[in-house]
Amino acid sequence: MKPTTAAVLLKTVLAVSALAILLVACWGVPQYMEHVTYVRPSLSPWVIPMIAYGCLIAIPVLLAIGLLWRVFGTIPENGAFSMANARRFRIIAWLAAGDLALVLALAAFLLISGVTPAFILLCLIAAVYIGVVAVIVFLVLGALVRNAAQLKQDNELTI
């Protein structure tokens, strides 16, 4: 597969993911909260905080998508293995850690409040797992790309 084609495909996946996240944050969460308050009117004070929380969770993900867009943009130029990309992966790991902290905060809040429906707990466990995996993967990826960038630089300066 040509690097240009790979970059286009990857960027397409990112664009679709960003749209999906915006859809969930701006439409999905409000719709879900509307349903929840219909079933349990006592929860209506939580609508705005939950929508705000949904947006807060989405922001680091959208920033990470933006950084990955830049990383994929370097692929056709044969510049994937660069210190700049290594830094971007490290930043993405920090963004994932931030989101993980938000999810853990919500989990702790729900447990303390005694709100423990099985479905919500399962979703939170899945979200924590995904967050941990994302942090580890992007940290390791950043370290690998940094090593590769150093090797590439040494190779380019070996005549």
Binding site: Q153, D154, L157, T158, I159
Partner: protein, 72 residues
């Protein structure tokens, strides 16, 4: 760097330009310039062999070791 490349001295002795050497050796002028200015991190043996053949010299004519305190 303690290893100094004296390519410019050999080019002057052989009255050869960098472009001429580049054509003989098959290395781009920019890469030869990197070598000449001491910015290279290494030289492949194959490149060293081609340089020695083109300049009719020994590797010792192209490379010299300068300990840190003796650097000019």
């Amino acid at each position: 760097m303690p290893i100094n490349v004296t390519l410019d001295i050999m080019l002057a002795r052989r009255k050869m330009s960098l472009n001429e050497l580049s054509e003989k050796v098959g290395v781009t002028p920019s890469n030869l310039s990197i070598l000449k200015t001491g910015k290279a991190k290494g030289v492949r043996f194959s490149t060293l062999e081609k340089l020695c053949a083109a300049l009719a010299c020994q590797p010792a004519n192209l490379l010299e070791y300068l300990p840190e305190e003796e650097k000019p």
